[in-house]
């Protein structure tokens, strides 16, 4: 603690995951997240952990499924095309209610796209992606420090709700270096506690009769009435998550705000500079930065639509995905404007400033 280390986001989140008790990691290389898998390949053997370079992202997520079924803290990471391949496994993990952490260091798409930062996987992460009625808890960092800190919170949320959690990052946060303050490693005792927390449902060594257990790690329910119950139960769990876990940052929010900005991740980071400059020029702009993009801070946005605010401006690194959620929050009360950049291109603070000024 205390001493900051200068690190790439990809490496920082890997280090933080290990410190949070992750001892199993399965993945397949892809740019711009390869430093993450490389870091894990170096560090896991040093903590008696497991690192396996899988034959594909499909295999990696299914290794995660198997290890998560054993109740252990397990993680995988990839970038956009690889995340698409993981969607089958993510749906099964959600259906079987297993805790697991998945990191997406997004790049430009669709298809092979490019290897520059983008936010084009927002829909996939927050609205489904895989088949069936399920939700991922999705955390969106905007600094390397926050990216690293999210490893710990992702595991805690995954364990608490027995649900997969995704950290929706991007190539910029993965590749850039910033000083990071790490939490201490879990102690042996803490690791042992963590290992036992899921004993009532996970796969683990058995005892003899009469205590012999038979635990099923499973998403199949062939009887529609049983499946109905299961999916309703999932729905109630998601309601609970929406009630308890919405996180967002308020930046320069005040009653003087003329415009409200909504942006997440790297986009929010760029807009912050624009907001600071505008403030110096006497223009008050507030921003809500969703930290959980699911569950989404609809109410936090709705509550900021005061009579003084005439417009909401949304910035994203895509053609306009989160803006749909902002529109839901604003509910037609005032216009919602949008600036997006695609193809792995970032907008500059100047472009953000211009866009905001157009709407003051």
């Amino acid at each position: 603690m205390g001493e900051k280390v200068l690190m790439k986001g990809n490496e920082a989140v890997a280090e933080a995951a290990i410190r949070a008790g992750c001892r199993l990691y399965f993945a397949y290389p892809i740019t711009p997240q390869s430093e993450l898998i490389e870091y894990m390949s170096r560090m896991m053997p040093k903590v008696n952990g497991t690192f396996v370079q899988a034959e594909s992202e499909i295999a990696a997520i299914n290794m995660v499924y198997g290890a998560a079924g054993c109740g252990k803290r397990v993680m995988t990471s990839s970038s956009s095309p690889g995340i698409s391949l993981k969607m089958e496994g993510i749906s099964y993990i959600a259906g079987a209610e297993l805790p697991a952490v998945i990191i997406n260091v997004q790049r430009g798409g669709p298809g092979l796209g490019d290897i520059q930062p983008a936010q084009g996987d927002y829909f996939q992460a927050t609205k489904g992606g895989g088949h069936g009625d399920y939700r991922l808890i999705v955390l969106a960092p905007s600094t390397v420090q926050e990216f690293a800190d999210m490893a710990g919170s992702a595991f805690e949320l995954a364990d608490k709700y027995r649900n997969p959690v995704m950290i929706l990052s991007d190539g910029l946060l993965g590749q850039m270096m910033e000083p990071v303050d790490f939490k201490p490693h879990k102690t042996e005792e803490e690791l042992e506690e963590l290992g036992k927390q899921h004993y009532d449902w996970c796969m683990h060594p058995n005892e003899d009769e009469p205590n012999h257990h038979h635990h099923e790690i499973n998403s199949l329910e062939i009887d529609p009435l049983v499946l109905e119950k299961h999916v309703i139960h999932l729905g109630e769990k998601y309601d609970e998550i929406e009630k308890n876990e919405i996180r967002y940052e308020e930046y320069n929010i005040s009653d003087d705000n003329d415009v409200l900005v909504v942006a997440f991740g790297t986009a929010a980071r760029i807009v912050k500079s624009a907001i600071d400059e505008l403030q110096e020029e006497g223009k008050s702009v507030g921003m809500i930065r969703p930290i959980t993009v699911w569950p989404y801070p609809y109410k936090a946005i709705a509550d900021r639509i005061t009579s003084k605010i005439k417009k909401v401006v949304v910035f994203e690194l895509n053609l306009g995905q989160m803006v749909e959620d902002v529109k839901l929050a604003v509910n037609g009360k005032i216009p919602v404007e949008f600036l997006g950049k695609v193809g792995g291109i970032l907008f500059t603070p100047e472009e953000a400033k211009t866009k905001i000024l157009e709407n003051i």
């Binding site: 497991t50 299914n62 198997g66 683990h204 058995n206 038979h214």
Partner: protein, 250 residues
């Protein structure tokens, strides 16, 4: 009273979902008996596939995971790595293992994962109603090869034991058949041997069962048995392909 036959402890008191004359039940029993005899039940985990044996996760009496179609070897990899103190097997059909899950089985075998794989080859997709499998024989009619499998168009059946034998890591590979009591007794020995190796964490073991699917072959169980002997044996020879315990180990 002396009990001379009873349900193995490793099977739960649940009715199988298999058709009369199906060999899935026999393979389950051989695996369960071997696990009991090796005293492995309390440290065993299994992975059920997608196929007729999808409910295997209910049948075996220890912790079980149900995989997505073809992904059982990847799950088993995660399970064994997460709980090295336990023992893991997968149970997979030919569509599951030799079509959609080809990458997973080859790479689990190639890593020499310390797991046992039981492969049920019935030359057809049972669960979905008799479509062509990667192991369907040349000329064999199925609901998606209504004119018979044309190997010029769709290729030859995949021989899993032979394919995996080209890899260096697997510890034990053998093909057995379940077509008569004598063959079943022989198969039991092979199943038990593979699980014994598993118990000793020696490496990747693979046992293929030449099986029948009377329902989708459209034959009664006796005719299905004869058909398998005549048609499957030439293509899928019953024999040992690899046993690293011989020749003083590796």
């Amino acid at each position: 009273m002396e009990v001379i036959a009873q349900r193995p402890k490793s099977l739960r008191d649940i009715q199988f979902t298999y058709c009369p004359g199906c060999t899935h039940g026999i393979s389950h029993r051989l695996i369960a008996e071997s696990i009991d005899e090796l005293g492995l039940r309390n440290k065993m985990m299994g992975v059920a596939p997608v196929g007729c044996s999808v409910f295997a996760y209910k049948f075996f009496n220890f912790d079980m995971a149900e995989a997505a179609h073809g992904r059982a070897p990847a799950l088993a990899t995660g399970m064994k790595r997460a709980r090295p103190e336990m023992h893991v097997f997968t149970y997979q059909g030919d569509g599951d293992l030799a079509a959609i899950g080809t990458a997973e089985i080859i790479h689990a075998a190639n890593r020499g994962e310390h797991i046992s794989v039981f492969f049920v080859n019935n030359a057809i997709y049972g669960m979905t109603g008799g479509q062509m499998a990667p192991t369907t024989l040349p000329g064999m009619k199925t609901s998606t090869s209504p004119y018979g499998r044309d190997e010029k168009d769709i290729g030859y059946p995949i021989t899993a034991c032979e394919m995996l034998s080209s890899l260096k890591a697997p510890y034990f590979i053998e093909r057995v058949s379940l077509l008569s009591p004598k063959e079943i007794i022989k198969a039991k020995k092979v199943v038990k041997k593979s699980l014994q190796f598993n118990k000793e964490n020696r490496g990747f073991t693979f046992v293929e069962f030449v099986s029948t699917c009377p329902t989708n072959w459209g034959l009664d169980p006796i005719k299905a048995r004869d058909w398998a002997r005549e048609n499957m044996f030439p293509y899928f020879p019953v024999k040992n392909f690899r046993d690293k315990s011989l020749n003083g180990g590796e």
